[in-house]
């Protein structure tokens, strides 16, 4: 059911990923951060999140861009659950209408 190659690959993937989860934590947990580094840590989470979704903005599809714009506007105003519902429904509708 699990080939040797597959077992080796996923075990090494797991090891690589767990190392990324620990490296930054272990490095910083031994440091006392100065004011400047603390401010960098404050904006860092947003930098990571916007980076992860950046490829979504690369599209020439009008429906896709419109859905994204609706999602951004909803996220500025509404709670998590409302935003998710508005976003999924409008994206689904726009894809059916314009796709």
């Amino acid at each position: 059911m699990v080939s040797v190659d597959a077992a080796l690959t996923v075990a090494l993937m797991g090891l690589a990923t767990y190392s990324t989860r620990l490296i930054g934590f272990l490095a910083v947990s031994r440091l006392v951060l100065n004011a400047r580094a603390t401010r960098v840590m404050e904006v860092a989470p947003g930098c990571v999140l916007i980076t992860v979704i950046a490829p979504r903005f690369v599209t020439g599809d009008m429906g896709e861009l419109l859905a994204l714009a609706i999602t951004v506007l909803a996220a500025v105003r509404f709670s998590l659950l409302s935003t998710v519902m508005i976003s999924v429904i409008s994206t689904g509708l726009l894809r059916h209408l314009l796709g």
């Binding site: 996923v10 797991g14 930098c47 979704i53 490829p55 994204l68 935003t83 999924v88 689904g92």
Partner: protein, 247 residues
């Protein structure tokens, strides 16, 4: 006197247990909107993996041990009967390099906890559990009040959900129609944008965030697969560091 103090101790012990359980449940409840998006994504990943020749057990093993969706989609993309192990592992590290920054931001908040608790808990850190734990800590009135059990509630539920539904996806693979058509893949931008709203710190956030967005866009268009993640994240951090002297 003796019996009184013993009773007080026992009472406060169970109060701590009750509070921890309450925090676990609160985390689990907050994770539910995220699961709406994770379930279809997990089904798609499982289905694609089975089409590439991975068995159900292999899919479960990958999502349980690696537990990082972006890198798993990349691995499935590169998968074959004799996978190029070095390439897949290198790609996994690159895409997940953002965890290095994420772990660093948690470190000051987890200082009061021993490594025997934090090191295992970090295995379950994903974009959502990390961001929700941080947002919860920052919205609290007390400074540095990271709720470890709230984080665990989010993280453990999301992990279990991910492993379970990627496996179901591998099982029913061919029966799945195109889930993307229903718009569920837009859940992640939605969740991330709401979390970013909570992280907004006025104009000092704007420049680094816009930099990250632009660098990531450029890297996505012009660099090899995977590089946009470390490029975008470090671009924003560099600007944050360089402009940090003002204020």
């Amino acid at each position: 006197m003796h019996s009184l103090s013993t009773r007080t101790l026992m009472h406060s012990g169970s109060a701590v247990e009750t509070r921890r359980w309450g925090e676990l449940k609160r985390g689990g409840k907050h994770a539910l909107p995220v699961i709406i998006g994770l379930v279809p994504l997990a089904l798609v990943l499982g289905a694609q993996a089975s089409q590439k020749g991975m068995s159900i057990a292999e899919v479960s093993l990958m999502t349980a041990l690696n537990y990082a969706g972006g890198s798993e989609f990349a691995a499935v993309e590169l998968w074959s009967s004799s996978p190029d192990i070095a390439l897949i592992v290198a790609m996994t590290f690159l895409i997940n390099s953002r965890h290095i920054v994420m772990g660093a931001t948690l470190a000051p908040l987890l200082k009061h906890l021993p490594y025997r608790k934090t090191v295992p808990a970090l295995f379950f850190m994903c974009d959502e559990s990390w961001a929700m734990g941080l947002t919860d800590a920052r919205s609290s009135s007390r400074p540095l009040s990271f709720s470890f059990h709230y984080y665990l509630g989010v993280a453990l539920l999301l992990w279990f959900n991910w492993v379970a539904f990627t496996s179901v996806g591998a099982l029913i693979g061919p029966a799945l129609t195109d889930i993307r058509a229903w718009g569920f893949d837009m859940v992640f931008p939605a969740v991330f944008l709401v979390l970013m709203r909570g992280m907004w710190r006025g104009r000092s956030s704007a420049l680094p965030w816009v930099t990250s967005l632009l660098v990531a866009l450029g890297a996505w268009l012009w660099l090899p697969q995977g590089w946009y993640v470390p490029a975008g994240a470090t671009g924003g951090l560099l600007v944050a560091y360089l402009s940090g002297g003002e204020r």
